[in-house]
Symmetry: C4
Subunit: 251 residues, 4 copies
């Protein structure tokens, strides 16, 4: 009973401490993962990092067991978003323990990082998370259309710059694939400066592409703003409906 | 009859498969076009790419024929947006077949890419596409005014930087045309780093221009956000009107 | 009478042609001004450019005279926005004619460019221009506050980076004035790449500054979006009020 | 009485002059601080700057005394936002006077800069400042969630680029900490050009990260736009409520 309160709920004292401990473990796990990428570590430290990581994984295994044991519907938990992430992180770890050195551990370990999203379930930010989620849902179809338009624009931009610059700078714009890299870096306005047009035609083309691109880049901001406003409006409409059903007179 | 269902409609099984096949062909055509820009391909592969492209064009020709044959109003299809794109892509291909090597084929072939926009007609995204289209229509006049203001700002920025930097860096800011390139790269915040001011006056000028520019860059986002909100509102008003006409009492 | 129709109004045939001719003259003036910045022009061409510029100025003088003669209230026109721009452009030109070579003509000539804004008065875009103007008016006070916050953030960012990087890169961050240039280029996300932090402290500071900066950069978009929505709402309210006064029942 | 009017209020003539003098002192203090970072100043000028700074601090001390003396509730002023800033600036200055040269004075002096925010209390911008404050308050929880998502995205981006580029460019992507710097510079679209991917995998990864990143960068603009619109709406609702209470009929 008490155990269930601790693991499954976050409105009890024990529950809050359990949540905080798990978050601390995740942060420790992220820090260890980061440290282990530093090259030229002394072997002793590397061994210590490995040991600490093992301890954390054992604790995560215990947490996973607790979550299954205390779940109202165990099978549903296993198939839930967090259930699958937890299981994947654990299974891949134990598998890589068995065949150490055979594959690149880092990509696998990064999966564990996804657990950090549990933090979004923290009480205080539940409303904000739900609102952003709702805004994203409203904006989803428009976002797909926008993404598609962006891909087409990137391709057209790359074809164009390839046409203008492949003679002048063959080493930088030698195929559409190289030009696509330029298009991505330019249209997102990152502009590393590793590739840029030098011909007049290429510069005029860049100008046209950027004018369109500024419109393209503006779309997500517009989508999110309108999505958020719709989500807030919907929340109010729901609140009003609840009020009316309860019998209170609407304001 | 069956053929018409397949070609003209996307709510039948045959229609969906037809649409998907065409989209697949377009993607294959894009991939082939990209591959043919890679320099130093072995001649055998280049021949194979050419052959594959020919096959695809023949299939596009068949598709174009089917669309004309099954159209309710053939002349209207020929003059429609997609009708003109399809015809242009085909005609230019067959013309370039006749005079191979006489002109740059790539720019012509890129026209075919526009066919990819047919994907926007996919059922699921029709509402989103229509909404974005409506938002853009609402924002059109403001966008023209904004575009004009951007061009003027670009020109003034270029005149100013030319004044400050033409002495210090004559090779980079030697005329307004060179300075315009700097203005485009700076005001869109791409910042390649191929040209930047080094004098105190030029830097102060850049600062003033960027403060104005940040406002300018923000305009499209504002236009799209307000356009989308108007489009959503209008959709609701229409839905309400339809409801009233049907006889249902509005909520 | 006829002359007044031509100069003062844009809803008559003569008025439209007058407006277009003036716009053409402005564009020609811009092109001439741009060409005269190209270095190493042959003297003959330079003379021709000067002559063409003189002709344009004479035509502008005629236009200014016509506008005064046909104005309902001449003194008000002289003191209006366009009246002052026109007069400044003319007076400075004739003054520089008298003392040729004594001062840099370019900065003075650029003033003439402001006349291009007359284009905003074109019939079709009057509503859009008015709406953007109204949105900007609504957003003005917030924009001043935001501008002030940006300046403070720029200064703090510059003080911080100077603290971290002045030892490591004395040639790039040797005083707050140099660091301010870095702050401007970074916070506007231009990122030329002429100055960037290399110490750990400087990079952490840049990270903090950029997180704040992304919020700052987002403010103008938010201001313009909300300003536009208010302007549209206000237009509707006005339309409704007019309708009611006329006696029609509001929808 | 008169003194209280001068120090505490800004709607009297004396009050306005007092506010302006304080603002002038702050600006002078900022300019002095900036000048003292210029390297290689002659000793005489450095002494003069130090003296001027001492005078300004004395004046700030007088101002702080006046504010305490004239406050309605002295203890509340001392603990208020501006009270703490003022006290910190003064105490740190006098402490550093006693142990000159023992610590870096600049970081401490920068605290004084925060006083510049007093300007936000100027009459004219009180409404705008309050509105922005309200918009930020509405957007706060969403901003925290967004910030957290940004941090996670930055980390995942850094892990990924480290995986792809650590072999090809070990000096630039040798640990996650170096890769994080790349992630910050890329996702904020600054793009200095000091580190960028050169492998195909790294470039594809950058593309994916930037597509997500453009959505992320758009969130603040959306939050601020919707926050501002809510703040304006709320202001109107309040105005209507006040009107009703006064007895006037709502429009």
């Amino acid at each position: 009973m008490n155990l269930r309160h601790m693991v499954q709920r976050s409105d009890t004292v024990a529950g809050r401490w359990f949540d905080r401990s798990v978050l601390l473990l995740i942060v420790a796990s992220v820090v260890l993962m980061s440290l282990s990428t530093v090259p030229g570590l002394p072997p002793a430290l590397r061994t210590a990092l490995g040991a600490a990581e093992f301890v954390i994984i054992v604790l995560f295994t215990v947490e996973y067991g607790l979550r299954i044991v205390t779940a109202d519907n165990r099978w549903r938990f296993v198939r839930s978003f967090y259930g699958i992430i937890d299981l994947t992180a654990l299974v891949t770890f134990y598998l890589t323990l068995a065949w150490v050195g055979m594959m690149d551990l880092r990509a696998v370990r990064a999966l564990r990082l996804l657990r950090v999203f549990r933090a979004f379930e923290f009480r205080r930010y539940i409303v904000a998370t739900a609102r952003i989620g709702r805004a994203l849902k409203y904006a989803r179809d428009e976002a797909v259309v926008f993404l598609f338009a962006t891909l087409v624009l990137l391709y057209i931009a790359a074809m164009g710059i390839n046409h203008f610059e492949s003679q002048a700078q063959p080493e930088k714009f030698d195929s559409v694939f190289h030009s696509l890299w330029w298009a991505v870096v330019t249209l997102t306005t990152v502009g590393y400066g590793d590739a840029y047009p030098i011909t007049l035609g290429g510069r005029l083309w860049t100008f046209v592409v950027l004018l369109l691109g500024m419109g393209i880049v503006a779309v997500p901001a517009g989508l999110i703003a309108s999505g958020l406003l719709r989500a807030i409006e919907e929340e109010r409409a729901e609140a009003r409906r609840t009020e009316e059903q309860v019998g209170g007179t609407p304001e």
